[in-house]
């Protein structure tokens, strides 16, 4: 049986209720700082261009301000929720599996982790929806809500499967000690060959999906798995092996999405 390290999970236990609430508010404020730091440079650059360069009226200005506020609030809650609910247990599970699990459970967990975190990735949800709108407008799929929804979901599932596959492959590589450079080069070679045969209309979406996956949820949990694994096997370097998982995870989505495009056309 595997034991979970519960030390860092029960940090707040044994403290008074008031202290816990004030700790919670402090954490929430910290998440708000983080999300506003993400948003602020964008707002500044856009404001500069609007005021100095373009000098044109902005339609639906109120809606825009409301939207920015919702993004800020949403990102704050999202990050806070990840920090309190998901990351501690996900990370300690990843460590526990990496250190003492049997290989089959470890590989199954690796796949599930890659798949589950990618399906919930906000940037991917947004981009897949946009891709389905554009594809429908181009007349490749019927332009109704059901067809667009299933196209977007298909896209997300392809990316999620590919990330799951990538993490399994990466874990396997760490266990076997295969050289990472050769595997990444093989991956690039496959991408080049698939680009030659895939329909031109899917290539842009496929290339972009590689970057979309390495976003908010996936990276911390997958890195925890890689570092846990590398530090429990002698002769492995946590820096190199932890990074290998992410490198694979941004490579395989291109292949899987191109394959999705080939099947769909």
């Amino acid at each position: 049986m595997i034991r979970i390290d519960v030390d860092n999970l029960s940090r707040f236990e044994g403290k008074g209720y008031g202290e816990r609430v004030s700790n919670g508010i402090k954490a929430l404020l910290q998440s708000m700082m983080r999300s506003s730091r993400d948003l602020l440079p964008i707002i500044l650059v856009i404001a500069f261009f609007q005021i100095v360069v373009l000098q044109q009226p902005i339609p639906d200005f109120f809606d825009l301000v409301l939207g920015v506020f919702l993004v800020l609030l949403g990102l704050t809650c999202f990050l806070h929720g990840l920090d309190t609910g998901l990351f501690p247990i996900g990370e300690s599970m990843a460590y526990a599996f990496a250190r003492k699990g049997n290989v089959y459970w470890l590989l199954l967990f690796a796949f599930a982790l890659g798949f589950g975190t990618t399906i919930a990735e906000p940037a991917l949800i947004a981009v897949a929806k946009e891709a389905s709108l554009i594809t429908a407008r181009a007349g490749l799929i019927p332009d109704d809500e059901a067809a667009r929804g299933s196209y977007a979901l298909g896209l997300r599932i392809s990316v999620a499967l590919s990330v799951g596959f990538a993490i399994v492959l990466g874990v396997f590589r760490i266990l076997k000690g295969w050289p990472i450079h050769i595997m990444i080069m093989c991956g690039y070679a496959i991408v080049v060959v698939m680009t030659a045969i895939a329909p031109q209309k899917i290539i842009g979406i496929a290339y972009d999906s590689g970057g979309v996956t390495t976003s908010t949820i996936t990276v911390p949990l997958v890195t925890a798995l890689g570092i846990g694994l590398a530090s429990s096997i002698r002769g492995r370097n946590p820096v190199i092996d932890g990074f290998g998982l992410i490198a694979f995870a941004s490579l395989t989505p291109m292949m899987f999405v191109m394959a999705y495009g080939m099947i769909n056309s």
């Binding site: 049986m1 979970i4 999970l9 983080r34 730091r37 993400d38 602020l40 964008i42 650059v45 261009f49 360069v53 044109q56 902005i58 825009l64 301000v65 409301l66 939207g67 920015v68 919702l70 993004v71 609030l73 949403g74 999202f78 806070h80 929720g81 990840l82 920090d83 309190t84 609910g85 998901l86 247990i89 996900g90 599970m93 526990a96 699990g101 967990f109 599930a112 589950g116 399906i119 919930a120 906000p122 940037a123 949800i125 947004a126 981009v127 946009e130 554009i134 690039y188 680009t195 290539i203 842009g204 290339y207 970057g211 390495t214 976003s215 908010t216 820096v239 190199i240 490198a247 941004s250």
Partner: protein, 258 residues
């Protein structure tokens, strides 16, 4: 009122998005570890925060980030705005220079302030024993992202297929991997992902699609995507180039001292 309904409608969708990860944790917790999660109450509140946050974020995205990306693309490619700088005739790619400047500014500003990049830069300084400066690396990454997005917008304006840039880019990255100092390679690859934060990705995607919709003769489906791929690829090159350059400078100054 409309917005509230939108949020409620999005909420039901987000439940399905977050469900797999909840099921995975519950499954492994009960069937493999065979005991309840150590702190179920806290986990549950965390998940509720994630649900609400994701829904608000997605609605806000539709209301703000996507429209703003599109609006900027439309206004910057507007003929009347361009005519101010170019006289008569159809605009050539040079006349869209404000687009490239905007793309560069968005890429540079979002990257230089990124907290994740700070951590990477400090670590790079440590493993290189001071040869790679913290600020130098941050500027290298920001420059890479900014150049990547700017070049990506130029590609959309001109209409060259995306793979003509990305595949040679990969070849270059592979060659650089060969010659660059070994300890920087993982950090260089990581820096590619740093640029693609949850806020930047939708905005940059909308900018690309808006450009492809507004520049005459471009197809959004073929030309509109690809900016994110550019933003991920270019910092890998600039970081390895920077590491290499700083090793050379170090070597030269050391041999001079002798």
């Amino acid at each position: 009122m409309n917005t509230i309904w939108e949020i409620v409608a999005t909420l039901s969708g987000t439940v399905l998005d977050v469900l797999p990860i909840a099921l995975i944790i519950v499954f492994f917790q009960f069937f493999v570890f065979r005991k309840p999660p150590p702190n179920p109450q806290k986990m549950l509140t965390g998940f509720i925060y994630v649900l609400i946050g994701l829904s608000l974020f997605l609605v806000g995205l539709e209301k703000a980030l996507f429209p703003v990306g599109r609006l900027m693309a439309a206004q910057l490619t507007d003929l009347e705005f361009i005519q101010g700088s170019a006289i008569g005739g159809a605009p050539g790619w040079r006349d869209y220079y404000w687009v490239y400047i905007f793309a560069f500014a968005i890429g540079a500003s979002t990257t230089i302030a990124e907290p994740a990049l700070m951590a990477v830069a400090i670590k790079a300084n440590e493993v290189s024993a001071g040869a790679i400066g913290v600020w130098g690396l941050r500027i290298a990454v920001a420059l890479g992202v900014a150049l990547g997005i700017a070049l990506g917008t130029w590609r959309i304006v001109v209409g060259i297929p995306v793979q003509y840039f990305i595949i040679p880019g990969y070849v270059l990255v592979v060659l650089q991997t060969w010659v660059a100092p070994k300890m920087i390679v993982p950090l260089a690859y990581d820096s590619g992902g740093v640029a693609t934060s949850t806020v930047t990705v939708p905005l940059v995607a909308a900018l690309g699609l808006g450009l492809a919709e507004n520049v005459p003769g471009r197809d959004p489906l073929i030309d509109g995507f690809g900016l994110i791929a550019f933003a991920c690829l270019f910092p890998i090159m600039t970081v390895m180039a920077y590491a290499q350059a700083s090793t050379w400078v170090n070597r030269i100054s050391r041999s001079k001292q002798k």
